[in-house]
């Protein structure tokens, strides 16, 4: 589904992503883990076309990012870190705007927005201005933004960061529910969450991949230690 090949990104002299390669299969939920500043967000930004790589290539469903970015953008729903959404619009107006851009037909639009409202628990706040919302609700608007138009791939950058425990559980439920039909790549700092939701785990540190395996595989290779210990061992010295 997504093939990342020798991806490298420099910001000036700083190497944020260093020769990273991995594939994501169709229907997989992949957790991209790593300490802050490891390069996760940079990888997401390149996949979604916000940044250009310095070297390397990404193919999404056989479209490469250099020639067919528009087709790729059509397939991907993206939630950036902290869901930075227009503050002045009503929730409904914002979702309506995204629905128009995603090319959803007029007669299906209302139903689609309603069903996303149900899924993300937004129906109570549809007619509130986004800047009035709490962080958790804003995050849900961001998830609804990413899900708009039923994209086949979801890229979620720390979807549970800054939420309260109830909201974290709810968001995790949403990811699990939609993950049955979609390919998801996402990151989190809560390792138990990755354990609970993901099929495969890629850990990066300082722009390099230090582990790429299923959770079982990781456990096996590191003698049944706890996931926290594995994570610390692999990303130590940061």
């Amino acid at each position: 589904m997504i093939k990342i090949k020798n991806l490298t990104k420099y910001y000036g002299d700083l190497c944020a992503v260093d020769n990273v390669s991995f594939d994501i299969k169709k229907g997989e939920i992949l957790a991209l883990l790593g300490p802050n500043g490891a390069g996760k967000t940079t990888i997401y930004r390149i996949i979604t076309g916000y940044l250009k790589p310095t070297r390397g290539n990404i193919e999404v469903m056989n479209y490469n990012i250099y020639d067919h970015m528009m087709e790729i953008k059509n397939k991907i729903g993206y939630l950036p870190e902290a869901a930075p959404i227009y503050k002045d619009l009503l929730v409904y107006d914002y979702l309506d705007f995204v629905a128009d851009i995603r090319g959803i037909e007029k007669d299906k639009k209302l139903d689609h927005i309603k069903s996303l409202g149900d899924l993300c628990g937004l129906n109570d706040v549809m007619h509130m201005t986004i800047h009035e919302l709490s962080k958790g609700y804003r995050q849900r608007v961001g998830i609804a933004h990413a899900l708009m138009g039923d994209p086949e791939i979801l890229v979620l950058d720390e979807p549970t960061a800054g939420l309260d425990p109830n909201q974290i559980v709810e968001t995790r439920e949403i990811i699990k529910r939609i993950g049955k039909k979609k390919t998801i790549i996402y990151s989190t700092h809560i390792l138990s969450e990755a354990e609970a939701t993901c099929d495969r785990i890629v850990i990066i540190n300082k722009g390099k991949i230090v582990a790429d395996d299923t959770l079982e595989g990781l456990r096996k290779s590191l003698k049944n230690q706890s996931f926290e210990n594995i994570f610390m061992k692999l990303t130590k010295g940061n």
Partner: protein, 235 residues
């Protein structure tokens, strides 16, 4: 094309949600109304010439205030990332925002039509220059909007965007008037061609010269194209 309309609608709506739109429109009408009518009755002429001669300098600081948020605010709050990663081309984003600014300028200008009607009641108003003047005002507003949009794409700080936009618009307005005395004659024609004020006053006289129209269209095009290069460079 459909996406240009979507962006346009969103931006246009956002203008009137925030109080900025109403403040900018009020300031514009107060300043231009006061400057125009303070000498209107002294001249004893039923003409809007004075109004149109004031327009470029007023636009030069009002329009950058209209356009300053278009990119700066998005870059600042981060919604720029959402916008870029939606299936939209840069061209659609830029044109949508540009047309929203031009539509806003047209709305801002529309109450001044009352000046024309009230003037026509007290004297014999020549409508040719008035129509030319409004046509020119839209062209002028469009090119300054494009310049303001370019300034907005440089920075995430709206104040900086405003000052850069205003500096460019002022230079384009005052270019010929200020430097006229200091430069050799050979350059005057060249500088005159660069001056937005010069071309606008030509149209406002009621003379439709293709050169003036081309000037404004090419100024808009150059500024929008430069905007495209700037946001392309951000990747």
């Amino acid at each position: 094309m459909k996406n240009i309309k979507n962006i346009f609608r969103k931006e246009f709506k956002t203008y009137f949600i925030s109080p900025i739109a109403y403040i900018v429109i009020s300031v514009f009408l107060i300043i231009i109304g006061w400057l125009f009518f303070s000498t209107f009755f002294l001249e004893k002429q039923a003409s809007l010439t004075k109004f149109f001669s004031l327009l470029p300098i007023t636009f030069a600081f009002i329009i950058p205030a209209v356009t300053m948020r278009l990119f700066s605010e998005e870059i600042n709050i981060g919604s720029y990332e959402l916008l870029i990663t939606l299936p939209l081309s840069f061209r659609e984003i830029i044109l949508g925002k540009f047309f929203a600014a031009v539509a806003f300028v047209a709305i801002m200008l529309s109450p001044t039509l009352l000046y024309a009607f009230s003037t026509s009641l007290i004297g014999d108003l020549d409508w040719g220059p008035v129509i030319g003047g409004y046509f020119g005002a839209i062209l002028l507003g469009a090119s300054f909007s494009a310049v303001g949009l370019l300034a907005s794409s440089f920075t995430k700080n709206q104040v900086v965007a405003f000052i850069i936009g205003m500096a460019i618009c002022f230079s384009l307005t005052l270019l010929i008037d200020f430097v006229l005395f200091f430069i050799p004659n050979v350059f005057i024609g060249f500088l005159q061609y660069l001056s937005a004020n010069y071309h606008f006053q030509n149209i406002a006289k009621g003379v439709l010269d293709l050169r003036d129209i081309i000037y404004f269209l090419s100024l808009s095009f150059v500024a929008l194209y430069a905007t495209n290069l700037v946001i392309e460079e951000k990747k």
